[in-house]
C-alpha cells in the first residue's frame, strides 16, 4: 500500500466553528453513497486534523455506539475541538444542506425514476461508491501495523469480521457482542506485556 499524504501527526486543527461547519458541509456534499470515504480523505489527507490511526479509533468508537457512524464521528470531532458548540456546528454542517437537497429530490423523484439514463447513472454512481469504500478500507489498513495487536492478529480479526459480515451475513450485534470482546481482551493482554 502506498502512503499518499497521510500525516504521522495531526498537524492542524479547525480554526473556528464556521471552519468546522463548512469542512463538514463540504465533506457531506461530496459524499454520494456514504460520506466515510470522503471523510477519510478530507480529515486525514487534506485538512490533516487527524492521523489515520486517530481516524480508525474514532470510527471504531462511533461504530460501537448506536446511531449513524459518520454523524457520531462529526459530533466527536466537533466536541473535541470546541465542546458542545463544536459538536453541533459539525453536525449541522453534515446534515443541513444535504437534508434540503434530499427532500427536494424526494419531491421530484416520481418524474425522474423511470428514465433509463437516470437509472443508469444511479447504477454507475453506486458502483463507484462501492469502490470508494473498498479503497478507504485498504488505505486505512496500514494502521494495523502500528496497532497494539500486532499486524498478524490485526489482519486475522479484520478478515474474520469481513467473512462474518460480508459472506455469512451475521447481524452486526452478534459480531460486536461475540468477536468484539475477544479482540478487546487480546489487545488488553498484549498491552500488559
Amino acid at each position: 500500500m502506498i502512503d499518499t499524504a497521510a500525516p504521522a501527526q495531526a498537524d492542524a486543527r479547525p480554526q473556528s466553528l464556521s471552519d468546522l461547519f463548512f469542512t463538514f458541509n463540504r465533506m457531506s456534499l461530496q459524499g454520494f453513497g456514504g460520506v466515510l470515504a470522503v471523510a477519510q480523505r478530507e480529515l486525514v489527507e487534506r485538512e490533516r486534523w487527524m492521523t489515520r490511526e486517530q481516524f480508525v479509533e474514532t470510527l471504531a468508537v462511533s461504530q460501537v455506539l448506536p446511531g449513524p457512524n459518520i454523524v457520531n464521528m462529526s459530533l466527536m470531532i466537533g466536541d473535541r475541538h470546541f465542546g458542545l458548540r463544536g459538536a453541533f456546528a459539525a453536525l449541522a454542517g453534515m446534515l443541513l444542506v444535504p437534508l434540503v437537497i434530499v427532500l427536494a429530490l424526494t419531491a421530484l423523484y416520481a418524474e425522474f425514476a423511470s428514465h433509463p439514463m437516470v437509472s443508469g447513472a444511479l447504477r454507475g454512481m453506486g458502483a463507484v461508491a462501492a469502490g470508494l469504500v473498498i479503497s478507504t478500507a485498504l488505505k486505512l489498513s496500514t494502521t494495523l501495523r502500528k496497532g497494539a495487536m500486532g499486524l498478524g492478529l490485526g489482519i486475522g480479526f479484520a478478515a474474520l469480521t469481513f467473512v462474518a459480515v460480508a459472506l455469512l451475513r451475521w447481524p452486526l450485534v452478534w459480531l460486536l457482542g461475540g468477536l468484539g470482546p475477544i479482540a478487546v481482551a487480546t489487545a488488553w493482554y498484549r498491552l500488559g506485556r
Binding site: 457531506s28 459524499g31 471504531a60 437537497i101 447504477r123 454512481m125 453506486g126 479503497s135
Partner: protein, 182 residues
C-alpha cells in the same frame, strides 16, 4: 407522496417520533441496520406508506449527497410531510447524539488507561473488516455486470494511486452509467 399538510394526527406523529427514538438506540452500525424494523412499523403495522415508497425512500437518499441516515427524513416526509421528517429525524438523532457525546468525553478523559487503549486497539481491526464488508455489500448489485465491476475496480485503483477527489470518480460513474455502459 404526501403534500405539505400533515396527513397524521398529533398522536400518530407522537407515535412516529417515539418509534424512531427507540430505533435510535438499536441502530448499532448505522441507521440502515434498523430499516427492516422501520418498514414493519410504517408499512405493515400502520400502512402510512407503501412498500414501493419505502424502497424508493432508501434509493433517493443513497443517490443524493450526504449521510445515508437522511433516508430516515425521506421516510418521515413521505409519511407526513415536513412534520413527519422532523419527527423521524429528531427521533433517530436525539438519543444517539446524547450517548455519543457522553461516551466520547468519558473515553477521551481516560484515553491513556489500559482499558480504553485495549478497547480502541481491539476494535480497530473489526472496524476495518466492517468497512471492507460494507464495500463488498455495496458492490453486490455490480456483480454480473462487467461494466459495473470494471467501475468498482477502476475506482479502487485510482483512489489508491492518485489524489483525485472522490467527487470526480462519482461524476465519472454517473456519466458511464448514463451512457448505458455500467
Amino acid at each position: 407522496m404526501t403534500g405539505l399538510a400533515s396527513a397524521l394526527s398529533a398522536s400518530d406523529l407522537a407515535a412516529l417520533f417515539a418509534q424512531f427514538l427507540l430505533l435510535s438506540l438499536l441502530a448499532v452500525g448505522g441507521a440502515i441496520t434498523t430499516a427492516p424494523e422501520m418498514h414493519r412499523f410504517v408499512v405493515n403495522q400502520h400502512g402510512w406508506i407503501t412498500d414501493a415508497q419505502f424502497t424508493a425512500s432508501v434509493a433517493i437518499a443513497q443517490a443524493a449527497p450526504g449521510p445515508n441516515v437522511l433516508f430516515v427524513a425521506v421516510i418521515g416526509w413521505n409519511v407526513a410531510g415536513p412534520l413527519g421528517a422532523l419527527a423521524t429525524m429528531s427521533g433517530i438523532l436525539l438519543p444517539s447524539t446524547a450517548l455519543s457525546l457522553w461516551a466520547t468525553r468519558w473515553g477521551h478523559a481516560r484515553r491513556e488507561t489500559r482499558g480504553v487503549r485495549a478497547f480502541t486497539a481491539g476494535m480497530a481491526p473489526l472496524t476495518l473488516g466492517l468497512l471492507l464488508a460494507t464495500g463488498w455489500v455495496l458492490a453486490g448489485p455490480a456483480a454480473g455486470h462487467p461494466g459495473s465491476m470494471a467501475l468498482v475496480a477502476a475506482t479502487v485503483l485510482v483512489m489508491l494511486r492518485t489524489q483525485l477527489s472522490p467527487i470526480w470518480a462519482v461524476a465519472m460513474g454517473a456519466v458511464v452509467g448514463a451512457a448505458g455502459w455500467a
